[in-house]
């Protein structure tokens, strides 16, 4: 079987979020990037299927040169091949543009299963997986916390409200967008990292995928006009002072609350 895993490289969760000059996004120069947390779980889920039998795992990511690092990490963890979609024309794409690029790769690859994360840690849109499933013409589900394969079916538990789970059967080929915590994600071993150097990483342009003029800022239907700090509400009173002074103030408050 062939599994396609969609990975997004996002600013590191501890990176400084400074708003860039034109106000439309954060300053991305000179900050650390990492694989989107949700997507690491999707990759792990694919690698577990591979470990359990015969599967080829193809990781796909979109973005500038820095993205090759994320793909190398994924190859080091055990993926077999990588596809890096890289083109200046992609800049400013909306979710539908990104889904079109991934759909073009999926149509070339013909995977039995597409795995992705539920959403990205930067945009938090949760749109690309569902759109990709529609464009490829396969069933999908999201927020999956358990996935089991049997003859031509993926049985998925998806997280819904109040700690409940909704169980849905998807006929393969299908797309499964996973929730964090579905598994425990492995680290790349030194041996894996060495082996990854010999694994193929294809670079594709928008033109290679037959999508010239269909992605990027010009084709985007939605545009981030600006980002800003959320309005400050009745923010916490911040305690200043030495550690002992702060601890004493907290103790006073706890006593006032009648808890000591």
């Amino acid at each position: 079987m062939k599994i396609m895993v969609c990975l997004k490289q996002v600013p590191h969760q501890d990176a400084r979020l400074d708003i860039k000059g034109d106000g439309t996004w954060i300053q991305e120069d000179n900050i650390k990037f990492e694989i989107n947390s949700y997507d690491t779980y999707a990759l792990e889920e694919a690698l577990r299927i591979k470990d359990a039998g015969e599967a080829e795992v193809v990781v796909v990511s979109i973005g500038p040169d820095r993205v090759s690092q994320a793909l190398r990490t994924a190859l080091g963890m055990g993926a077999d091949r990588a596809v890096h979609i890289k083109d200046d024309e992609i800049e400013g794409s909306d979710a539908l543009g990104i889904a079109k690029l991934l759909a073009a790769v999926a149509k070339d690859e013909g995977p039995d299963l597409i795995l992705s994360g539920l959403m990205s840690d930067d945009g938090n849109f949760s749109a690309v997986p569902q759109m990709l499933a529609e464009l490829v013409g396969v069933p999908h589900t999201t927020a999956v916390v358990k996935a089991e394969r049997s003859n031509g079916t993926m049985r998925c538990d998806r997280e819904i409200e109040g700690g409940a789970r909704e169980v849905v059967d998807l006929q393969t080929p299908c797309l499964v967008a996973v929730q964090t915590g579905i598994n425990q994600v492995r680290y790349a071993s030194l041996k894996g990292i060495m082996a990854a150097k010999k694994k193929p990483c294809d670079v594709k342009s928008v033109g290679d995928l037959g999508l010239t003029g269909q992605v990027g800022a010009g084709a985007a239907k939605v545009t981030v006009e600006k980002i800003s700090q959320p309005p400050k509400g009745d923010r916490a009173e911040i305690l200043e002072g030495s550690t002992d002074e702060v601890a004493a103030s907290l103790l006073t408050k706890i006593k006032e609350l009648g808890l000591l």
């Binding site: 938090n124 849109f125 749109a127 569902q130 927020a143 169980v167 059967d169 915590g181 981030v224 103790l251």
Partner: protein, 325 residues
């Protein structure tokens, strides 16, 4: 916007509160643009609910009645929404950002080649066009998003506005949705309710909760648990801690864990993602300890300490133990 279509949602045999919130947004947008409000009520045997919704703000309501719509099915609901869009000529489609809403909405948007914005908390009209506001970076920043498309699908955060009040003349139109149950490639199986958990945090007066900033599982027993013990309280955690396997799921506080309201909640090394905040923000008193002064947790806390939790928490534990004698 000439026509706003609300996709209403049925939960436990009633129209969800969030559908009335969509109605509030729909009437606001329609009012400012001279448009009209229409709705879709999809399910099985929905005429009564559809009639009620039409009189409480739903406007002209389309009903889609089919066995495959009795439970959530992305393909069936998607087909019903597309049929309602065709019938209504809607150019703005509003769906609640609920587990079914977030699952189906982008798929419908792609099928309609529409613009898509998710999890909005505000919709304004600027020069006749909608402008959406939503959170990005897990609640740390706000984004303002414009849409330039013949059709826009947007999901709206439940609770973002008050429910629509007041009536209105409504009408019902039955939609003919051709769904072939045998041709669906996804099937609803069942709902599994959450397992009874061994740790009931909802009864604790004091909760000391740790997040990603605690760093590793041993630190929970070395730093967080002692403070909980000193105060006679319980230990809790945010989602990343549970996802990483540092603590079992029963310690998780938030939208996918337990919702708590103790007399005192101390958040240690928790940045305050929305999913955590909904689980604890109604606590009587909240103390937040975090190194990042911009962490959203400080927006809901009463008292904040911008410092290393590994200095403050042990010092507080010691102070509490000393005070108890």
């Amino acid at each position: 916007m000439s026509t706003v279509l609300i996709v209403a949602e049925i939960q436990n045999g009633a129209i969800r509160e969030s559908s009335y919130e969509l109605a509030a947004f729909a009437h606001k947008v329609a009012g400012e643009t001279g448009g009209s409000v229409k709705s879709l009520v999809a399910g099985q045997g929905v005429d009564g609910l559809a009639e009620e919704f039409s009189k409480k703000g739903g406007g002209e309501v389309y009903t889609a009645d089919h066995e495959t719509l009795a439970s959530y099915n992305a393909e069936a609901l998607g087909a019903a929404i597309r049929a309602a869009v065709d019938a209504s000529g809607a150019d703005l489609i509003l769906i609640s950002n609920t587990p079914s809403g977030w699952d189906v909405a982008p798929r419908v948007a792609a099928a309609l080649d529409a613009g898509f914005v998710s999890d909005c908390f505000a919709i304004d009209i600027d020069a006749g066009k909608p402008v959406f506001r939503r959170r990005v970076f897990n609640g740390k920043l706000d984004a303002t998003i414009s849409a330039d498309a013949e059709r826009i699908v947007a999901t709206v955060q439940p609770g973002a506005t008050a429910a629509h009040e007041g009536g209105g003349d409504g009408s019902l139109t039955k939609l003919d949705v051709a769904i072939d149950a045998g041709a669906l490639r996804s099937t609803f199986v069942e709902i599994k309710q959450s397992d009874a958990t061994g740790v009931d945090l909802t009864k604790a007066d004091v909760i000391i909760s740790g997040g990603r900033g605690v760093g590793d599982p041993e630190k929970f027993s070395e730093v967080i648990q002692p403070l909980a013990d000193a105060l006679g309280g319980a230990m809790g955690a945010s989602r990343p801690v549970v996802d990483a396997g540092w603590l079992p799921h029963e310690y998780q506080i938030g939208s996918s864990g337990q919702v708590v309201q103790p007399k005192l909640y101390i958040a240690c090394g928790i940045s305050g993602a929305i999913q955590h905040l909904v689980g604890m923000k109604t606590s009587n008193f909240i103390i937040a300890i975090n190194k990042d002064p911009d962490a959203p947790i400080f927006e809901v806390a009463d008292l904040g300490v911008v410092a290393d939790l590994f200095e403050i928490v042990p010092a507080l534990t010691q102070a509490v133990q000393k005070a108890k004698g």
